[in-house]
């Protein structure tokens, strides 16, 4: 069974001489195959013979009139992209950390969330009392939560926004 892919490869000339010879023989001996081959051959020859469409007269002049005085931008070289990303991520981490520390130094957690008892955690209306020997430190726990959230925010920002953005720019202008 000869596939359409093989017929196209034969037309493109990407098959070995031996395989191409065998295929030609089979095509010549089978009318249905010959019809399929001829359809693809027709498509190939029409596409190959297509004249290049032409722009309107005065196209070049119009472009030259609208050019700035000199080439303006120079995009960052690909090898420097990771450095810029790193600087941006570090900057965001610094801003988030300072914001979290300032917030915690200004407000007491007991004021913000008065209902939480230091040694109790309420889940689905059930109260779990923590063994006093464990020494549960509420402030440390919430600080940890804030830092974890900040880390997740940065991670998601990098994955979902920064990386695709810079990848697109890199592909667009610098290769």
């Amino acid at each position: 069974m000869i596939t359409d892919k093989e017929i196209q490869e034969l037309i493109d000339g990407s098959l070995t001489e031996e395989r191409a010879g065998r295929l030609r023989k089979q095509i010549n001996g089978d009318e249905v195959l010959l019809q399929r081959y001829t359809v693809f051959k027709n498509i190939d020859s029409v596409l190959s013979d297509q004249a290049l469409p032409e722009t309107k007269p005065g196209f070049t002049e119009s472009v030259m009139r609208n050019l700035p005085a000199a080439p303006l931008f120079e995009t960052i070289k690909p090898e420097l992209f990771w450095k810029r990303n790193l600087i941006m991520v570090l900057g965001i981490i610094a801003v988030c950390s300072v914001a979290a520390v300032v917030l915690l130094s200004q407000f007491s957690l007991a004021e913000v969330i008065p209902s939480i008892e230091p040694q109790q955690i309420i889940l689905k209306e059930k109260t779990f009392t923590i063994d006093p020997n464990i020494g549960f430190r509420q402030e440390l726990f919430f600080k940890g939560l804030i830092y974890l959230n900040a880390f997740l925010c940065i991670f998601l920002l990098e994955k979902a926004v920064l990386r695709p953005f810079f990848k697109r720019r890199r592909q667009q202008y610098a290769f």
Binding site: D4, K5, Q8, V39, L47, L52, P53, M64, L67, Y173
Partner: protein, 193 residues
Amino acid sequence: MSKTYSEISDRDTIANILKGETQEYRVLVDRYKNYVYAIIVRILNNNEEAEEAAQDTFIKCFQYLKSFSGKSKFSTWLYRIAFNTAISYKRKPKIVVSGLENIMHNVASAEHDTSHGLYQDDKKNAIENGLLELAPVDATVLTLFYLKECSMEEISKITGIKTNAVKVKLFRARKKLAEVLKNSFSLDMETLL
């Protein structure tokens, strides 16, 4: 490593432009305008819009000329900008007013459809119409392949699709073209052949 004449010439021209001889950019525009236009018009299917997008492409290319590293051919870099510009034009919301040219084209196509039998020109028109039914990226891959200037690797760089995927798209586009021809004309195969 040996370089083709056009490659050396492109690079010399770019070097001169960057030295301040901006009028030399005209050489590059004249050399590639029809290729750029061919890529864009295949995606946009609208001559007026394609002309505008082609101009934008050359202006962007000039603005970012310092960024051209020379690792690829200048034409590959330029076609990549053309492809991205065309895609962003395609995404713009459009006012639904057909230009006179498009109306004339539709009238001509309608007249064509009523005629019986396909001759050489009809076959060409049938394939042209089939191309309009392809997805923009598939049509671009076909156009780039038949420009005879681009290798699979270059098409991959221009469209941002992996080389193997380019091969698959090329195969599927031609297969779809064959199907479109059979379906839309429901003619006996002898005429098409």
